[in-house]
């Protein structure tokens, strides 16, 4: 490396990172089981994937990526003691999260209209488990982001450890989607 930059400390609390590693391993096990089952029933999975909407999927991916960008931006602004601007960045991230929720519920509505449920077939068991499980994590994450955003606006709140931990949690949720999206939507 050109500049031997000084080593910075881990952003956020180790306790949160233990949770992040646990969540990532759960999703890894689910992804691997998905891949194996796809090879066992290739046409079932192919037909299942035809019901999905890649365009909606890509809007979701971009929304989550943008949310992650604004969360990271908010952390930077927070470190530069610009709490007010950090709060605005965080609320923007939350709004992108809401875009995700809207598009995701639209997608589920399409599937419910076709009477496709959790036990319809093996593909949709995986689809619903993976995406709903991820959705619940996003909802929990949005709750945390709203908490931080409101704290930033109101008092002289200065908790870098909590701020960075919540940001790392959100990035983990985005990382999971980054892997989930090509697997479920693109590779058919």
């Amino acid at each position: 490396m050109l500049n031997t930059s000084t080593k910075s400390p881990l952003p956020g609390d180790v306790a949160m990172w233990v949770l992040i590693l646990a969540e990532l391993s759960v999703f890894a096990l689910l992804f691997l089981t998905y891949a194996v089952n796809r090879q066992i029933h290739p046409e079932l999975f192919f037909n299942g994937q035809q019901q999905l909407h890649p365009i909606a999927g890509s809007i979701i991916t971009i929304a989550l990526l943008s949310a992650s960008f604004f969360v990271a931006l908010s952390v930077n602004l927070f470190k530069q003691q610009k709490s007010r601007r950090a709060a605005y960045a965080m609320w923007t991230a939350v709004s992108f999260g809401l875009v995700y929720l809207a598009v995701k519920s639209w997608e589920y509505q399409q599937l419910f209209d076709l009477d496709i449920g959790l036990s319809t077939d093996s593909f949709f068991t995986f689809y619903y488990l993976l995406t709903v499980f991820h959705l619940l994590h996003v909802i929990l994450g949005l709750g945390l982001l709203c908490y931080v955003a409101s704290k930033l606006l109101t008092s002289k709140w200065h908790e870098p450890n909590i701020m960075e931990s919540i940001a790392s949690y959100w990035h983990m949720v985005d990382l999971v989607w980054l892997i989930l999206f090509p697997l479920l939507y693109l590779v058919h």
Binding site: A15, L19, S25, V26, L29, T33, L118
Partner: protein, 460 residues
């Protein structure tokens, strides 16, 4: 002992050990019935011996947990127990309910016991681990409420530490999930699904909180490591325990009629269940390595480390052995399940209660911190005898299970259950021998309480 009222735990621990002996005696009876089919038939048929064995286990572990709480909470809250008299009263009520139930199992046929105790009013009997009459179940709930009130009031008026809060959460969880034993629907499948809310959410949920808080308490006292570090680790361990354990219930829903998505959820989450036990082993060894003092009670430290390792082996490794759905399809309802059951119960819950007894009993019997060198040596002998015997029991039952699966479930000409049981008799003989070894270990453990000698001094 900092507070006089902690001595209330003494009768609980004594009752626990006595009932433990009873449990192992009936374990030996059953072990013999596996190899000599008509042993004690029809006086004590296998199902009666089994009820006594499993219910004694649960009763004496509950005695152990309550005793541990009565010893731990006052010291953690730095105040006297709210009402020692209530604790003693509850002790006698619980002991009476337990002993009467066991006598009921042995004295009259089960159907008669059900009739006498009015099971028809609210039928909750006849289910594994919950065979006790409905009135005994009500008695247990009353004792639990009184117990929770007692320790709750103690904590309220005293210092609130993570350890005492986690102990209370575990005990409250235990009481709350026990209430599901009153739900016995006519639909067998619904009955089974919510039966697991009692059994699984106990042993892979709230009991891990109780176990964690006892282990943390003993480690703080024996190693002198800073409370902040120990409580941080404790929170992480029980967080992982509940995160993986709650959805881990799915590994019981594979073949009992529940939808098939449970095969995926159950396998994935229960595959992660060994992690909290692995963290607990790291935690125990780390704290002992970083100890700031040499505690004279070497036996208690050995029990604490042994608990962490055996819990990881029995509940973690042996659990993972048969938790994935494709594997469980063949091992479900075979001796593999029994092997896991034995080592998990001993490694996780029997040993943690013995750890607490080993740590607290010397002080409740008037010594400063530990028994004599001689007594501790005998106790350590009993530790190794019982633990090694349990490893053998588990290995022999695993062997029996593997052969059973091979003969009864695999291949194109699977054999009949009873024929297979004949073919695997050798493992049952070996298991009975290991059971006798365990019993010797238990007798050694009891003997260690009566070994005299000068008290080991408090060094450093």
């Amino acid at each position: 002992m900092k507070f006089q009222s902690q001595a209330v735990a003494k009768p609980y621990f004594i009752a626990a050990i006595v009932l433990f002996i009873g449990q192992i005696i009936f374990g030996l009876v059953m072990g013999l019935q596996y190899v000599i089919g008509d042993f004690l038939f029809p006086a004590i048929p296998f199902n009666v011996a089994r009820m006594v064995h499993t219910n004694l286990l649960i009763i004496w572990l509950l005695f152990g947990f309550m005793g541990s709480a009565y010893y731990l909470i006052p010291e953690e809250s730095e105040t006297e127990l709210y009402s020692p008299k209530l604790a003693i009263a509850l002790f006698w009520i619980f002991l009476a309910a337990g002993v009467l139930t066991i006598i009921g199992y042995l004295a009259v046929p089960y159907a008669t016991l059900a009739h006498i105790t009015g099971n028809d009013l609210l039928p909750t009997m006849g289910r594994e681990f919950l065979e006790m009459p409905t009135i005994t179940k009500v008695g247990i709930v009353i004792v639990a409420l009184g117990f929770l009130f007692n320790i709750g009031m103690t904590v309220l008026k005293g210092r609130k530490t993570a350890i005492s809060m986690i102990m209370i959460m575990g005990q409250v969880g235990l009481a709350v999930f026990f209430l599901f034993s009153f739900y016995n629907p006519e639909n067998l499948i619904l009955d089974k699904i919510f039966w697991w809310w009692v059994v699984h959410l106990w042993v892979e949920g709230v009991w891990e909180l109780i176990m964690g808080s006892i282990l943390a308490f003993v480690l703080i006292k024996t190693t002198g490591v800073d409370r902040e570090i120990i409580e941080k680790w404790l929170y992480m361990i029980i967080a992982m325990a509940l995160i993986t354990g709650i959805l881990g219930t799915g590994h019981h829903y594979f073949w009992i009629g529940a939808p098939e998505y449970w095969q995926l959820i159950g396998s994935v989450f229960s595959a992660m269940e060994p992690i909290p036990f692995f963290m607990m082993t790291l935690f125990a060894f780390n704290m002992v390595n970083q100890r700031r003092r040499e505690h004279p009670n070497k036996a208690a430290v050995l029990w604490a480390l042994g608990t962490a390792v055996m819990a990881f082996l029995g509940a973690g490794v042996w659990g993972f052995l048969h938790t994935l759905a494709p594997v469980n399809y063949f091992t479900h309802g075979t001796q593999i399940t029994a092997a896991h059951g034995h080592m998990a119960f001993y490694g996780a819950y029997v040993m943690i209660v013995l750890t607490m007894i080993s740590y607290s009993m010397p002080m409740m019997r008037g010594r400063a911190a530990a028994n004599s060198k001689a007594s501790q040596t005998v106790e350590m002998w009993s530790f190794w005898l019982m633990t090694v015997a349990m490893v053998f029991i588990t290995l022999f039952l695993t062997g029996a299970g593997i052969l059973q699966i091979f003969l009864q479930r695999m291949g194109d000409s699977p054999q009949n259950f009873m024929v297979v049981q004949e073919r695997i008799q050798i493992f049952y003989w070996l298991r009975e021998a290991a059971g006798v070894m365990f019993f010797i270990g238990l007798m050694t453990y009891v003997a260690s309480f009566f070994v005299k000698g000068k008290e080991a001094t408090l060094k450093g």
